[in-house]
């Protein structure tokens, strides 16, 4: 398996923006709703190319979600994007009843994910929406690991029928997947082979996991790194195979460890193959201002913490 190399840095939100443009070029019934932060969640790209299919909603995330539902029930494929703090929390009742209970073909883009948002501070650093969206029936939840995957995921979620939420970030993060790196909704990918431990990560933490794995290899620990870019539905097969073959799992996410990706994996493991697991994520705290790197280090969202957790979990193997 080819090793992933650092190809530069670019925020996943730009992949979302470019993916929307591709969808707009391919399909005339793709519509985008703008929530007054279009230049930040990059729906502005679509707006420039397809002004007739872009509608500004102003600052009303709840109603934008309802309008998207109405569009979907009229045969359109609407995307509404805002910061995740508002695209998943301000409209939770709308996501539950109007979007998911209706099984409406609504696509939500949630930006400013995690504390890597930086100086804006806690209010804008959403760390809870993986839990909120994955508990909703009929919802599909995607967390791309980098720019290229974000673009593929956005196109895929448009072409797929059903409610879907994509989570992306504000800050430039490592690019390491290529145009030919496969992406499929519902499929987790092994990005690095190894049988001592499985690191299941999503979003920018996938790169941190790869970095951690390299360092661990120097110490003779072979970590399997899995990019869990679809959190719902979870790729049970790939993750259970990893649990079986590695006997220990570490989850890594830029989210509360409570009820997030780690929670989804924990639920799968105890039900099928209970192996030791450690969680890398935010430990039931709110974020704060600071620059992204400082914050990621302070909150333990780096390869360093992953390495510690890997050693902890390996020590716990029977």
């Amino acid at each position: 398996m080819t090793k992933f190399e650092l190809l530069g840095k670019k925020a996943t939100r730009f992949g979302f923006g470019e993916g929307l443009v591709t969808l707009g070029e391919r399909y005339e019934n793709v519509i985008v709703l703008g929530g007054d932060i279009t230049g930040s969640v990059m729906t502005s790209y679509f707006q420039e190319k397809f002004p007739d299919r872009f509608f500004s909603t102003g600052i009303m995330e709840a109603t934008a979600t309802l309008v998207a539902t109405g569009l979907a029930l009229s045969g359109k494929v609407p995307f509404f994007a805002s910061y995740g703090a508002f695209a998943a929390c301000r409209n939770t009742d709308m996501l539950r009843i109007s979007v998911c209970y209706n099984d409406a073909n609504v696509k939500i883009g949630g930006g400013h994910a995690g504390i890597s948002v930086g100086p804006d501070g806690a209010t804008h650093q959403v760390l809870e929406e993986i839990a909120i969206t994955r508990t909703l029936p009929n919802m599909t939840l995607i967390v791309p690991c980098d720019f290229a995957e974000a673009k593929k995921a956005t196109i895929a979620m448009g072409e797929f029928i059903g409610p879907a939420y994509i989570r992306f970030g504000r800050t430039d993060t490592p690019m390491f997947t290529k145009d030919d790196t496969p992406f499929e909704i519902g499929k987790a990918r092994v990005f690095r082979e190894g049988n001592d431990v499985a690191i299941c990560a999503c979003g920018p933490m996938v790169w941190e996991a790869l970095v951690a794995a390299e360092k661990l290899a120097e110490e003779g620990i072979q970590a399997r790194v899995i990019n869990v870019s679809t959190i719902k539905p979870l790729d049970n097969e790939t993750i259970l195979a990893a649990a079986r073959e590695c006997g220990a799992v570490v989850s890594a996410e830029e989210h509360q460890i409570t009820a997030g990706l780690g929670g989804a994996i924990a639920e799968l493991l105890v039900k099928n193959n209970p192996v030791p697991m450690e969680f890398v994520g935010v430990n039931d705290k709110f974020g704060g201002s600071g620059d992204p790197d400082e914050l990621m280090a302070l909150f333990g969202l780096t390869s360093v913490t992953i390495i510690e957790s890997v050693k902890k979990v390996i020590a716990r193997k029977n």
């Binding site: 070029e25 391919r26 399909y27 005339e28 019934n29 793709v30 519509i31 299919r53 509608f55 909603t57 102003g58 009303m60 709840a62 109603t63 979600t65 309802l66 309008v67 998207a68 539902t69 109405g70 569009l71 979907a72 029930l73 009229s74 045969g75 359109k76 494929v77 609407p78 009742d93 709308m94 009843i97 109007s98 209970y101 209706n102 099984d103 409406a104 073909n105 448009g158 072409e159 029928i161």
Partner: protein, 317 residues
């Protein structure tokens, strides 16, 4: 450039187990549902014809609620005249025999708890067999306590039940029709007056006037009541008309029990350009049943057997 495929109607994912409920055959016989033939929808219909439809809708509301043993009487009875005009006065364009016809106008009951009047109206228009009304709120019924799109009932455009949401969905449909498909379809929505306390109503109002959705017509069931009491005792919503005006709507204030006023209001709404319309229909909760009329305590209660007999007697021709 192509269209992304989509599957909208009917959706039938909501059944919890195979068995569908069956209507009580004695009641089907008693109500003579077998020989019923649907009311016609035409702008040529007389007010009397529409009034007779409204009366039959009210009878069916009572019949379905007493059988369900739970559900909302007050709002549904109060809005029956409006529903009769919408479906039988030639206001809405639909074909009950081809319920998912693309060109149909859309109806969204934002106040989802008023479902019984929607079901009764759809049955009287021929969207379903009338006897199905007697399965209201029963396990696996297509007639859920609040409209559930997942049950695939013809005429149910969207699930509602969380107040303040249906109107936003309706606005989205109107946006699709006016600015995307440009197909001339109109979208009709009914909200409660207590429902006006939810902020999404005002977000949607602002949105609809910003986008000049003149194909969008909201009607407020102005019965001055909600669950805990009369609106001013729970949360004052007046001046209602000023609010809608300030949010850019063309407003029409009418007696919601006058078939002719309702018809004229919808006629006027259809002529308004560049603005959505809000019809404020003054109604009485539970109208015209003597022991329910204008009494908020009937918001969420079904009649018991005796009360149903009395109500049906009052509704006899």
């Amino acid at each position: 450039m192509s269209e992304l495929p989509f599957h909208i109607y009917p959706l039938e994912t909501g059944f919890h187990g195979p068995k569908r409920p069956v209507a009580n055959p004695d009641l089907v016989a008693e109500y003579n549902y077998a020989n019923f033939s649907p009311f016609k929808n035409s702008s040529g219909n007389t007010d009397e014809y529409i009034a007779s439809a409204a009366k039959e809708i009210r009878r069916d509301i009572i019949r379905s609620l007493v059988e369900a043993k739970s559900g909302h009487s007050g709002g549904p009875l109060g809005i029956a005249d409006v529903m009769a005009v919408l479906y039988f006065g030639g206001v809405m364009n639909y074909d009950a025999t081809n319920p998912w016809l693309e060109s149909r106008d859309r109806f969204v009951l934002s106040a989802g708890h008023m479902a019984p009047v929607l079901y009764a109206t759809l049955a009287n228009a021929g969207f379903m067999k009338k006897e199905e009304l007697l399965t209201l709120r029963k396990l696996n019924s297509r007639l859920q306590g609040h409209p559930g799109r997942d049950m695939g009932l013809p005429g149910i455009e969207t699930s509602t039940g969380s107040l303040g949401q249906g109107m936003g969905i309706a606005a989205g449909m109107a946006l699709a029709d006016k600015h995307v498909s440009k197909n001339g379809r109109r979208v009709y929505c009914i909200t409660g007056d207590g429902e006006l306390q939810e902020g999404e109503i005002w977000e949607t109002a602002m949105f609809a006037s910003h986008w000049k959705l003149d194909n969008f017509c909201v009607l407020v069931d102005r019965n001055h009541c909600q669950i805990d009491g009369r609106n001013p005792d729970v949360m004052e919503v007046d001046p209602v008309e000023d609010k809608w005006k300030a949010f850019g709507f063309h407003t029409i204030h009418i007696n919601g029990h006058s078939i002719s006023e309702i018809r004229n209001a919808y006629k006027e709404a259809a002529t308004v350009k560049e603005k959505p319309t809000c019809i404020i229909a003054e109604t009485y909760m539970g109208h015209p049943i003597s022991f329910m009329n204008d009494d908020y305590r009937w918001h969420g209660k079904p009649p018991n057997k005796d009360q149903a007999v009395l109500a049906l007697a009052e509704l006899a021709n």
